[in-house]
Amino acid sequence: MSTETGSRDRILARIRAAVADAPDAPEAARDYLDSHTPDDPAAILDLLHENLADYRAIVHRASEAELPALVAQLLADRGARSVAVPDGLPAAWLAAADADQRTDDGPLSPYELDAVDAVVTGCALAIAETGTIVLDAGPGQGRRALTLVPDLHICVVRTPDQVVASVPQAMPRLDPTRPLTWISGPSATSDIELDRVEGVHGPRTLEVVLLQD
């Protein structure tokens, strides 16, 4: 431990000596744009839809009343017989589904999660310009492993209140003390001849439902 304390002091002293004569560096200017998109909720929603789809997420739109049937259909279409249910997920969302519902109050071990076919969650927010969904482990989202190990992730985004245009608009709405996962399309790799292949270790299928009031 004493060597480590020594290293801490040594590194900090070396930094101070290294920049002692350096010119002052002011705080960064932030004259970049807050958004690249017109401030129109319908256009922002369309852009989100387009960008999610561009990275091979499958996008649906539904009303609150249509949602249970849609979720049931999506699970059935993929042959999902079991579904992980995060704490705080509205019960109505899975009310019409036949799949066996696995709550996480054990909590589910990695092996148990690996045996689950799908997961249904909400989100913290979605970013239109980049086609990104952000999860913050809040109610209806569960811990990070839930949206990672099962092969199918169905994510419901409440529009327009959970949709922002850009990354700069997303930052003040997120709480950095929570574990955050930013998801832009399903798992993918470009490591083989830079050919993009979907589905390596995360869910191979990402279905996003844009829930409209």
Binding site: I11, V19, H36, L148, S184, T189, D191
Partner: protein, 472 residues
């Protein structure tokens, strides 16, 4: 992994072999051209790219100027959030800390997120010497590890391999590391990715210790950030009970808001995407979500030496996007291994000699591994003037002397004298023109220069004689 960069020949020697490897050149050309075209499109989508680039540069410069303060703030924020912070002055100390932390868990294997810092310090080899197996889980790193090869690109370490070579590596080597490759594996990228998924999943599910680096650390909040695509990073960051992150001290940014700049510039510059598929952010430990124990190892390993160099310190702004590699005509032909470091390409040519010093043959040769065309500076999302640093480092290498540089110095001194004495210059020119038929094509002692170049023929008449005859 048995591969090591230690004892690599100087860049010109290593590059000479690489440029004659036809497969390597074809793989590299295909990959670098594909990504540079895509990147240009992704960047063109943002009208304010130049402003984002300038903001990124300023944020990093501000961070580096006050790095002591930001690191202390980071340390208290991480500690307050339930993490433990360690400081490592060099590679040896970092490896010792990590090995000790792994041993304290009682485990003998770890899963790893792709990380330049742990490559730089040779962590896998150090853990192996302590009886700990470290499994690389990024697809490209897996290819490199199974093939007992060395990474050749910052972002796509197996860029020098094509699909056929990858299939062969999986078929021959997966079995000795765990689940074998499926029978009849083809060379389609989808099948190869699936083979990696099956091979690694058993390791993820049983892993108790994960090791990562980080793309950014936020001083204000103690948040660490990892950008990735495959989900292997998420697996390593959330399933194990213990997480150890080894991060260079220069990866700090002061505020949470600063991330908004790099979340826009890093994915577009590196993989040419609007956003990479997965970004994970964690602050210390969270109740019942992810590892219950979190250790952050802050790594110096030469960074404070680079910081002390007023021209060279800008290399510490680097966010490891690798855009400079993909546009570099030298990297495209010489390949990543020739740079003899985990940091290849233009950024490697300025970073490695600063982190390691310029005493070795390879490090002294790296500032010359460039045509100074400037393409690297143009694409850099934090505006590192790589050509400026290259020239600055060349000056340092020349100052330290050595055979070639003594000759060069003597030649420059002679040229200086003769240019100061016009009569001697005129006489010399006249004599040189008269005897031009006798000049050797390759003058003795200039082999390093003439090996790949033709010596220009002297004209029959000097310019001054021509001027006298035609213009006066």
């Amino acid at each position: 992994m048995s591969g090591t960069y230690l004892g690599m020949p100087s860049f010109p020697k290593a590059a000479k072999d690489a440029v004659h490897n036809v497969t390597l050149r074809a793989n590299l050309r295909h990959a670098t051209h594909t990504i540079r075209d895509k990147r240009a499109k992704a960047v063109a989508e943002l009208d304010d790219w130049a402003l984002l680039r300038e903001a990124g540069k300023q944020i990093k410069d501000h961070t580096l100027r006050h790095l002591d303060r930001h690191l202390e703030q980071l340390e208290s924020a991480v500690t307050a959030a339930g993490g433990t912070v360690h400081w490592a002055a060099d590679a040896e100390e970092a490896n010792r800390i990590v090995a000790g932390l792994v041993k304290a868990t009682g485990e003998s294997e770890v899963v790893k997120v792709k990380s330049m810092a742990t490559q730089e310090i040779g962590l896998n080899e150090a853990l192996e010497a302590e009886g700990i197996s470290a499994y690389e889980t990024d697809l490209a790193e897996l290819i490199v590890q199974l093939g007992e090869d060395l990474p050749s690109h910052i972002l796509v370490p197996a860029i020098h391999r094509n699909r056929g070579e990858i299939r062969d590596i999986f078929e021959q080597r997966m079995e000795s590391w765990g689940r074998p490759a499926p029978d009849g594996l083809s060379d389609s990228p989808a099948e190869l990715a699936e083979a990696a998924r099956l091979h690694l999943r058993e390791k993820f599910l049983r892993a108790k210790v994960g090791i990562s680096g980080a793309n950014f650390m936020v001083a204000e909040t103690g948040t660490l950030v990892v950008f990735e695509s495959e989900g292997n990073g998420r697996m390593c960051l959330t399933l194990p009970e213990t997480l150890i992150s080894v991060v260079g001290i220069e990866k700090t940014v002061p505020t949470w808001r600063d991330l908004e700049v790099f979340l826009q510039t890093l994915p577009r510059s590196s993989t040419a995407e609007r956003m990479n598929p997965y970004t994970s952010m964690w602050t210390g430990t969270a109740d019942a979500d992810g590892p219950r124990t979190f250790h952050l190892v802050l790594l110096d390993n030469g960074r404070t030496d680079a910081l002390a160099d007023e021209v060279g310190r800008q290399a510490l702004r680097c966010i490891r996007c690798s855009a400079c590699l993909n546009v570099c005509p030298v990297y495209e032909r010489a390949g990543g291994h020739a740079y003899g470091s985990v940091y290849p390409g233009p950024i490697g040519a300025i970073l490695s000699p600063q982190l390691r010093g310029i005493q070795s043959e390879i490090d002294a040769s790296l500032p010359y591994a460039s045509s100074l065309c400037g393409a690297c500076y143009e694409v850099c999302p934090v505006a590192i003037d790589i050509p400026e640093v290259l020239v600055h480092l060349r000056e340092k290498v020349a100052d330290q002397g050595g055979k070639g540089h003594r000759l060069e110095k003597a030649a420059i001194k002679a040229a200086g004298w003769i240019l100061d004495h016009p009569a001697a210059l005129a006489a010399g020119e006249k004599a040189a023109s008269k005897t031009r038929g006798l000049h050797p094509r390759k003058p003795p002692g200039a082999g390093a220069w003439t090996a790949d170049r033709e010596l220009p023929e002297l004209p029959a008449q000097s310019f001054r004689d021509w001027w006298k005859k035609n213009r006066t």
